[in-house]
């Protein structure tokens, strides 16, 4: 094989180490928290170092670096194991390694004393393995494998507190619903591999750029692959799993269900951006779905009372936003930068928001931010400050990172001929700002008397916290908050370098003041609205939406999407198919078999009447048969 590429070695090493951490903990040390933690954290640190080293060393890379070896070679289906290192993947690699390291750190405090501590870290290692593998994989099939493994770790982590029915149910739901999308993904891959011959990302993109795909293959394949993205990135109509996924421990929500895993869908879209761009039909579909998702989740976020739910819906909406950016760019022949940049900044500030929420939850043992507020949430200084920073970024307020990336996406939407999309995007920005600051204002200006029994969000977990910290936040939890807050403040100003890194050049646009003003106006309008509703002295603590109860109820019922899927599952899958098939199996198929058996026995009983007790009847029978044969022989000659 000759000399092995050091980058290849490094990347492989990070995967192998994560895998062995998972294996070691699961098999040997899961009963010992300290040892498990040591293993996992060491591995995570090594991965972090490898990621940054690779990033720095390859930052001046001109051509994408493809390193691969054969993994499984059947006849037509060949799965290489390899890495495609280009700016996109390198950046994502670093993001994932960093955030997962931070979260591992944070979890030391958050998960302290939990009986499944070792198991928790094993799952985190598994996640690290699969996510890192996903990010840098060179082929779509390897990506799909990691994609599934990510789903698996998500399942395991959501259902981490498996004694709780809701948690195990949510895990199952997450796995099955994302699998629903993955089927499309898989079919897309099958189409591609059968008709195109390879699943190498680089060759697909090059082929797409040189228009080598026939249209009949391109659009179906793109749409099918997008199904996978819809599942993973929680896009309408199969977004329903993500809010439920908040049943998992909060660091998990931060890591998987906001910053990295759910972003993997959008990452895939970025990865295959040239490919998708070739199909305007597909891109239009994507744009539509992402817009619907944006509005749907924002409106639901307006009425949620569980802090993690709010952030979850905001995640969905921001993912929709990214998708809109990418789709718009694809339709107008733009670049993938805007969407991916938002992905980057979103990873930072959304992780921050979740971790802050985690601190509150950890402290107050509730998920309801009204209760938190009543219990004096604002006294937790560090989280309060950082959550506000995160919220500002999410709302898109200068100078936080969200402002820049949203600006970039809106600029892409501006380029679309139909300005409706821009309008919807701005509406989304307005709603985002509104529901974000609804949370912030409620936390900042508590009104204990306003909290009735109405908001009864259950405690997230009622056990495992032996040592109660009465005041303050443990440093292992505070440090990640501060680091992430730092990122949120800084990333915005790194737009140009990142753009240069991703695209190889900086595209300067003349600042579009109309857009700028309207965007900031929407954000500020949203915050102002929130202030009127929740912050100001005379505010009624009622959303403006309450004026239209029908609509509010519609939002509270989450647009009835959960109801729809529940109905689909219970009535169609269980009720119709499963029951019919079972009945058929019992009665028709198996019944048929039994009928044959009983028929045989019955015919035996019938035939036994030939053997009468009367000698002469038997003899007569004998003579008749013999005569028959004789006649047959004489006739047959």
């Amino acid at each position: 094989m000759g000399s092995v590429n050091p980058f290849f070695l490094g990347c492989t090493l990070s995967l192998v180490l994560s895998l062995s951490a998972f294996g070691l903990i699961m098999i040997f040390t899961w009963r010992r928290p300290k040892l498990s933690l040591a293993i996992s954290l060491t591995v995570s640190t090594i991965c972090l170092i490898i990621a940054w080293l690779t990033f720095i060393k390859l930052s001046a890379l001109k051509e994408p670096l493809i390193l691969s070896v054969d993994w499984m070679m059947s006849d037509q289906i060949r799965v290489p194991f390899g890495f495609l290192l280009d700016p996109t993947s390198l950046l994502m690699f670093v993001i994932v390694a960093t955030i997962s390291w931070l979260i591992q750190l944070y979890s030391i405090g958050y998960m302290a004393g939990d009986s499944g501590f070792g198991r928790y870290y094993a799952f985190l290692s598994l996640f690290a393995l699969s996510m890192l593998g996903l990010v840098i994989s060179s082929g779509l099939l390897q990506l799909y494998i990691c994609w599934e493994l990510v789903g698996l770790s998500s399942y395991l982590l959501i259902g981490f507190w498996y004694e709780k029915f809701s948690a195990s149910e949510a895990g199952k739901k997450a796995f099955v619903v994302t699998r629903f999308g993955d089927i499309g993904f898989f079919m897309g891959l099958a189409f591609l591999v059968l008709n195109f011959g390879t699943l190498d990302i680089h060759s697909i993109n090059s082929a797409a750029m040189s228009k080598a795909f026939p249209a009949w293959l391109l659009t179906p394949a793109a749409l099918l692959i997008f199904c996978g993205i819809m599942g993973k990135s929680a896009q309408f109509p199969i977004h329903v799993w993500l809010p439920d996924a908040m049943e998992g421990p909060t660091p998990v929500s931060a890591l998987l269900h906001s910053a990295t895993m759910v972003a993997a869908g959008m990452y895939l879209l970025t990865r295959l951006f040239p490919f998708f761009s070739c199909s305007p039909t597909a891109m239009t579909v994507i744009l539509t779905i992402c817009t619907i998702t944006l509005l749907l989740s924002s409106t639901i976020g307006m009425v949620a009372t569980d802090i993690k739910q709010v952030w979850a819906y905001s995640t969905i909406s921001q993912l929709g936003f990214m998708g809109m950016g990418l789709a718009a760019a694809g339709l107008t022949g733009g670049y993938l930068f805007a969407g991916f940049y938002h992905l980057t900044t979103h990873a930072g500030f959304k992780a921050l928001l979740f971790l802050c929420a985690g601190v509150f939850i950890h402290h107050f043992h509730t998920n309801d931010f009204f209760v938190m507020s009543a219990k004096g949430g604002r006294r937790l200084l560090i989280p309060m400050v950082t959550v506000t920073i995160g919220a500002l970024a999410l709302a898109g307020i200068f100078p936080f990172s969200g402002f820049f990336s949203k600006e970039a996406i809106l600029a892409e939407l501006w380029n679309l001929p139909n300005k409706m999309w821009l309008g919807l995007g701005l509406l989304g920005a307005f709603l985002t700002a509104y529901y974000t600051f609804r949370v912030i204002f409620v936390l900042l200006f508590p009104r204990p008397q306003a909290v009735g029994g109405g908001h009864g969000v259950e405690e997230e977990h009622g056990h495992g916290h032996g040592q109660e910290e009465e005041h303050g936040v443990p440093w292992v939890m505070a440090v990640p908050l501060i680091i992430l807050a730092g990122f949120t403040c800084v990333l915005g100003f790194l737009q140009a370098p990142i753009q240069k890194f991703l695209l190889g050049e900086v595209h300067h646009h003349a600042p579009n003041y109309v857009l700028l003003v309207s965007a900031v106006g929407c954000a500020l309008g949203g915050i102002g609205m929130a202030w009127l509703d929740w912050g100001a002295k005379g505010a009624k603590w009622e959303g403006f939406i309450r004026k239209v109860p029908v609509v509010e109820n519609f939002f509270i019922q989450k647009w009835y999407m959960d109801h729809f899927w529940r109905w689909f599952l219970n009535t169609v899958i269980y009720g119709l198919f499963s029951r019919t098939f079972t009945y058929n199996d019992r009665r028709v198929v198996d019944g048929g078999v039994d009928a044959v058996a009983f028929g045989t026995i019955g015919s035996g009983r019938l035939l036994s009447f030939i053997q009468t007790a009367f000698l002469q009847l038997n003899l007569l029978f004998m003579v008749l048969v013999l005569g028959g044969i004789g006649i047959y022989l004489l006739m047959g000659r």
């Binding site: 045989t600 035996g604 029978f621 013999l626 000659r637």
Partner: protein, 471 residues
């Protein structure tokens, strides 16, 4: 004349005489008689084995000694020996009849030995009747309820009518060919196709053999006799008698070879009817021996598959299967005898808990039953597969298909025996203690069933030589 050619027959004739004298004694010494009979039969086995490779012709060519006949003679001698082995405890035969019991067994064996060597119509008829009449007497020898005489009378009349048919048929054959020697009849059979007398004659003549092998529709006696006769007699009918009848059927059916398709077709119908009827009716039986009777009807159908091919392969497999059937059926009867040691009729549920009462017997039973069902690794499986193979090679696809399906049906009632013997709890029934000869016999039978099932080559080669002699 070389005495060795007629050695086994002479020996058994002598044995019959000895037993006859023993039966004349006023006071019967049961033990002594038994041992005399047993040791004499051992001698018979040795002698029959000794004479295995004799060849020659006797009595103006009416009597042919060749490997074919000698194999079956050896098998008959072994069959007699095996039956005598389990006759130590003749609970259901009156003590004063014991010598006669042995005597008629011997004469029956003698008759069948002569039967397998006969190649002339009259000889065939007389030896057949010799063996039949002995059995007619043996069946009602049982003491106890009325079923023995009923079985006896039914056996007698069905047998008599069959042999009447046969004789009538033989007369037509004689008329059509003007000879009574099979060797001379064979080449003339070709012309007989034109002659209805020949067809009717052959058909009627076969009736006698079908009766012996209990092929449908001449099977009616089998269930009644199996159930009604003493266990040992049933054993003898089911094993040795069957083998001899198969041998004669093989000899005789070869006559039909030149008859061509329609004759074989008729046999196909009989074969299918036999196995289907046997297997289906066996399902609902409760009496173990009666069930075995139906199973024997089914097996007659299987054997007929080999016979009707009229080809070497078919004859080889039929010979192999006849020998196999002797052993596997015996193993089952061995168990019956040991379990129903008082000589009663064994109902299948009475086998319950046999696994506890005697593991060895259970093993024998399972092996025997599996061999009958055609489950490997057993002599029954190999034999059945060879039969199917030869039938298929002759182009009887449907026959093989139906045979194979019948194999499945038969498994049901065979497995029910296993179920009772192996699954149910024994209840109050005590353990069964086996004497060492009996143990040895068990091991021996098991060894034969498996050994010749897995290594059939020796027997197949022997059968091959024998089959060539007949065709």
């Amino acid at each position: 004349m070389n005495m060795m050619l007629f050695g086994p027959e002479l020996y058994f004739l002598g044995m019959a005489l000895v037993l006859f004298f023993l039966s004349l004694q006023r006071r019967v010494r049961v033990e002594q008689t038994y041992y005399v009979a047993l040791w004499l039969s051992v001698g018979g086995v040795v002698l029959a084995g000794w004479c295995l490779f004799q060849e020659g012709e006797l009595f103006f060519k009416a009597y042919k000694v060749d490997l074919f006949s000698q194999i079956f003679k050896a098998a008959l001698a072994v069959g007699l020996f095996l039956v005598l082995m389990i006759s130590r405890n003749l609970a259901h035969v009156e003590e004063r009849c014991h010598p006669e019991f042995y005597l008629f067994l011997t004469t029956c064996t003698l008759g069948m030995m002569m039967l397998v060597s006969s190649v002339e119509l009259l000889t065939i008829y007389v030896s057949l009747e010799l063996s039949s009449y002995s059995l007619y007497i043996l069946v009602p020898l049982r003491r106890g309820d009325d079923i023995d005489t009923e079985a006896g009378i039914k056996y007698l009349f069905i047998g008599a009518v069959s042999s009447g048919f046969m004789l009538f048929g033989l007369s037509y054959i004689f008329g059509a060919t003007h000879t009574t020697y099979l060797a001379e009849i064979m080449p003339k059979m070709g012309q007989l196709i034109q002659n209805p007398i020949g067809v009717v004659g052959l058909l009627l003549a076969l009736a006698g053999f079908f009766f012996k092998v209990s092929v449908f529709p001449f099977h009616f006696w089998a269930p009644d006799v199996y159930q009604g006769a003493a266990n040992q007699v049933t054993t003898f009918i089911a094993t040795a008698s069957k083998a001899a009848a198969v041998a004669m059927l093989l000899r005789f059916a070869a006559l039909g070879a030149s008859f061509g398709y329609s004759f074989a077709e008729a046999l196909v119908v009989l074969s299918i009817a036999s196995m289907t009827l046997g297997n289906l009716v066996a399902i609902i039986q409760k009496d173990f021996k009666r069930m075995l009777a139906y199973s024997s009807i089914a097996h007659a159908g299987y054997i007929l598959m080999g016979v009707l091919t009229m080809k070497e392969a078919g004859y080889i497999s039929a010979i192999y299967y006849a020998l196999a059937y002797l052993f596997m059926n015996f193993s089952v009867f061995l168990v019956i005898h040991e379990v129903a040691s008082d000589g009663r009729d064994l109902k299948i549920p009475e086998l319950a808990g046999l696994w506890y009462r005697s593991p060895l017997l259970t093993m024998t039973l399972i092996l025997g039953i599996f061999a009958l069902a055609g489950v490997p690794p057993s002599i029954g499986f190999t034999g059945k597969l060879l039969l199917f193979t030869s039938a298929m090679s002759s182009g009887y696809f449907w026959l093989v298909l139906i045979g194979a399906v019948n194999g499945t049906i038969s498994l049901y009632f065979y497995l029910r025996v296993v179920y009772h013997a192996y699954f149910l709890e024994p209840g109050p029934r005590p353990k069964i203690h086996l004497s060492w000869p009996s143990r040895l016999l068990n091991y021996g039978v098991c060894g034969i069933i498996i050994g010749f099932g897995v290594f059939p080559d020796r027997i197949v080669e022997l059968a091959k030589v024998a089959a060539r002699l007949v065709l």
